[in-house]
């Protein structure tokens, strides 16, 4: 005996009702914003800010978060509007993004790839974030970028300097405004040659991870092209805190320049140790011994204190720039928080504006439409002069700043001075340049 007396008619009828029911929500949402992950409603759109809130880069993350909050405020029409008034694109009018009020959620990357992926996933799945942005490390950026590609979410990278982010690990859904190792090397080399001559022997100490390698390679090849010789390159463990045993042999190694391919705490300690060992006052090969830090950040300069004096490095942006965009941003950020913004704050603020602008120009939150709007997009007025978001690798091309530790800082933020603004032509490279080879953008993924 059986109860399953489904007739053909009944099956059809049930099926029709069921599919109508399933289709209903989609039908109600169908206003041109469907067919992709986390399509926003009519009144609000949520952005996900994924920054280190704990761990060694917590202070940098805090500054990024301040910039994000400022960007959201400006997008929603609050405050003085910051760089909205200097941005070459004028489609953002302070009414949110496409008329939707901008809300945000935050995640804590802890500067660990797995934690960063987990917090990004939670913001996407639980909070419905339409875009993820932030981060303070290349390892995290590459990991989160890959996650966003799979999830069908746009990733606007924060502070990430490794070539690989837009090199071998580039993704169609990921975009980087920050500069990279290659650009640092290309910008620094001519300034170094002009200041220290072309007859130099360099000794590299390199943090033993992805960013360290690409930076060492970039600085090495740029300086060797100008006649420098590389005497030695030593990898130092990422967890190293006392660099004395790596620095002690440098002075007697035949080198007359020390390049510290270190970031964050590594850089603070290695530079402090190098200065302690008297390298700045030393003579080698008949010349003054010099130290170079390819990538500077203000927090690092602050941590190293007086040791940064007179030491060259490069940076993406600096608050002392005098263009209209930078001035507007510094004014707006400084008024709200009481101190000037860092380069991490700048790049994250700009990335948020660029995303909002791309959505508005595309008139859609669909990631593929956003990708199309950002690719090969040229803009100005965001603090770095004329900038191109190159379509081939989703990397921004703009002027790079060569900076030097200031000899007589006037306050705790006045640590670096701009030595030269290297024009964009000098730091541009082909998308398939050997240092970036092996990457494939793939196609944009709009998700579900």
């Amino acid at each position: 005996m059986t109860n399953s007396n489904f007739s053909r008619r009944r099956v059809l009828k049930t099926g029709a009702i069921a599919s109508a029911g399933l289709a209903l929500p989609t039908y109600l949402r169908a206003d041109g914003h469907t067919g992709f992950t986390n399509a926003p409603g009519d009144s609000e759109v949520t952005l996900g800010f994924n920054v280190p809130q704990t761990g060694p880069y917590a202070d940098e993350g805090a500054d990024e978060l301040r910039a994000y909050e400022l960007a959201v405020e400006h997008l929603n029409g609050g405050g003085d509007g910051g760089m909205l008034s200097t941005f070459s694109s004028k489609v953002l009018d302070g009414t949110g993004i496409l008329g939707r009020e901008v809300k945000y959620v935050t995640g804590d990357t802890q500067t660990k790839s797995d934690a960063a992926r987990a917090s990004a996933r939670s913001m996407i799945e639980k909070d419905g974030a339409i875009m993820i942005t932030g981060g303070s490390s290349s390892g995290v950026a590459v990991a989160v970028q890959a996650l966003c590609q799979e999830a069908g979410i746009i990733f606007m990278a924060g502070l990430t300097h490794s070539n690989d982010t837009t090199g071998k690990d580039r993704r169609a859904n990921g975009f980087r405004h920050f500069f990279n190792s290659y650009m640092s090397g290309a910008a620094l080399a001519p300034v170094l040659a002009a200041n220290y001559g072309t007859d130099r022997k360099a000794y590299h100490l390199t943090a033993d991870y992805n960013w360290g390698y690409t930076t060492e390679e970039a600085v090495k090849s740029s300086t060797e092209a100008l006649g420098w010789e590389t005497v030695n390159a030593v990898k130092t463990p990422l967890t190293q805190t006392d660099f004395s045993s790596y620095i002690a042999p440098v002075l007697n190694s035949g080198a007359d320049v020390l390049v510290l391919n270190h970031y964050g705490g590594n850089m603070v300690n290695s530079l402090t140790n190098a200065v302690q060992f008297g390298l700045r006052e030393a003579q080698a090969n008949g010349q003054n011994f010099e130290i170079i830090v390819p990538l500077y950040s203000r927090l690092m300069a602050k941590g190293a204190g007086a040791n940064v004096k007179g030491i060259f490095g490069s940076t993406n942006w600096h608050w002392s720039l005098q263009d209209e965009g930078s001035k507007a941003f510094v004014q707006s950020f400084g008024t709200k928080y009481g101190f000037p913004p860092s380069q991490a704050a700048h790049t994250t603020y700009v990335q948020t504006l660029l995303y909002a602008d791309a959505v508005t120009r595309a008139n859609s939150f669909n990631p593929c439409a956003v990708v199309e709007a950002l690719e090969d997009y040229e803009f100005d007025g965001l603090g770095n002069g004329k900038t191109l978001y190159r379509g081939a690798d989703h990397q921004c091309f703009k002027d790079v700043l060569v900076v030097k530790g200031k000899e007589n800082p006037e306050n705790e933020f006045d640590l670096l001075e701009i030595v030269e603004v290297t024009p964009v032509e000098q730091v541009t490279y082909a998308p398939d340049h050997p240092q970036f080879a092996g990457g494939d953008l793939g196609t944009c993924n709009p998700g579900a």
Binding site: S244, F277, A304, A306, S320
Partner: protein, 404 residues
């Protein structure tokens, strides 16, 4: 009392002579340095050929070896100081204290705080200059300038780190006292796993408190300007100038650590208090039966151990700018030091601290890295494994400790 004196363990001195033997033995056999140097000499030319003259000076010379020994002694002095405190606590209270790295960090932040207090300032508006927003610049003027005049004020601020030593001792003893009475005493009878968990948790709490007040970024706190720069050893020993230079402050650190270690040993060896403590370390129950309140004395020892770690932290501040995480960076290492030295052996901890410091320094020479890639990352643990395999109780561990 007389009875105790006679039955007192001679543990403190006995292993020291043993250490001498070990060191003399290694010296006779050529010592680690010579082994390294000969093997590198043999390997170096082949290497230079391999990488087409890339490493122009990968030969290991005498001055490099001396330099790395200096380095090792300096690194080792921090390890030894931390491990000494760790062993003191373990030897007296039988507690494995994972918060010891945090005590080192707290000491460093006492120095940071002292230098902040000394530079406490009030704002004076300077109309002639403007800040980054175009408003009149507010200049910070330390109160010390108002009280002592600018030059005396500057001198005091300059000597902030040595001044911190005086401040750090009572503060660290107090922190140690509160830690022991407030939390750790409740865990004496519990298994070591519980002790490790609770002290590790405490370490994290202390870190987060420091991070809340001081942020995550390292805070530069320089040495007095009299100690900046380096001493040229090479010239003194007939080498070329610049061949062997070593920063003054690191030398100060080394001698400071020798002084502290000496003071702790002398305290234990030559005072009645130290004698009772040593008796208690050997047989707590018997000492208690003799009517001595050994717990009280052990609490004091905890305070002293905390002060030793704290002083190590204070003096470390000019070497590397401290951040909230520096304790954890040293914690694992100092445990390896204690285990290699032998659980509960004070001289073992000191000897192993210097030994591992020197080995770590040698392992980071580029000639050695070229020979054995990655050796600089693992040397400490490699040595720990070898020592534990050949001498399961560590270099100077005694039977019965941690082996109930």
């Amino acid at each position: 009392m007389h009875l105790i004196t006679r039955s007192l363990p001679v543990a403190i001195w006995e292993p020291v002579t043993q250490a001498h033997k070990v060191i003399r033995a290694t010296a006779k056999r050529g010592g680690p340095s010579q082994i390294l140097s000969t093997s590198c000499h043999m390997r170096a030319p082949a290497l230079a050929g391999d990488v087409s003259g890339y490493f122009t000076r990968s030969e290991v010379t005498m001055d490099q070896i001396i330099l790395q020994i200096l380095n090792g002694l300096d690194k080792g002095s921090a390890y030894a100081l931390i491990a000494l405190g760790l062993t003191l606590i373990f030897g007296t209270l039988g507690v494995v204290n994972f918060a010891h790295g945090a005590l080192f960090m707290m000491g460093a932040f006492v120095a940071v705080t002292v230098s902040k207090v000394l530079t406490l300032s009030h704002k004076v508006v300077d109309e002639s200059r403007t800040d980054f927003l175009g408003n009149p610049l507010q200049v910070d003027v330390p109160y010390l300038y108002d009280w002592f005049g600018q030059s005396a004020g500057d001198a005091i601020i300059d000597w902030a780190v040595p001044i911190s030593i005086i401040v750090a001792i009572p503060i660290m003893v107090a922190i140690g006292f509160i830690m022991e009475r407030g939390l750790i005493k409740h865990f004496y009878k519990r298994p070591h796993a519980d002790q490790i968990l609770v002290t590790f948790g405490l370490a994290i709490v202390m870190q987060e408190i420091i991070k809340y007040f001081y942020g995550a970024n390292p805070i530069p706190t320089p040495a007095p300007s009299a100690f900046t720069g380096s001493f040229d050893f090479g010239v003194a020993f007939g080498f070329d100038p610049n061949a062997i230079i070593y920063p003054y402050w690191r030398l100060v650190y080394f001698f400071f650590s020798i002084f502290v270690i000496g003071a702790v040993f002398a305290f234990l060896q030559f005072t009645t208090f130290g004698m009772v403590v040593r008796a208690g370390m050997a047989d707590r129950e018997t000492v208690g039966l003799l009517g001595i309140n050994i717990d009280k004395r052990f609490t004091v020892m905890f305070g002293i151990a905390a002060a030793v770690a704290g002083l190590a932290g204070v003096m470390y501040v000019p070497i590397n700018p401290p951040n909230y995480h520096m304790g954890m960076d040293f914690l694992v290492l100092s445990f390896v030091v204690v285990v290699v030295g032998g659980m509960g052996s004070l001289p073992g901890a000191v000897a192993a601290g210097f030994l591992l410091g020197i080995l770590e320094s040698f392992a980071s020479m580029s000639a050695v890295i070229n020979l054995l890639p990655g050796i600089n990352q693992i040397i400490i643990y490699l040595v720990a494994i070898i020592i534990l395999l050949t001498r399961p109780r560590g270099l100077m561990g005694r039977k019965g400790v941690m082996e109930e």
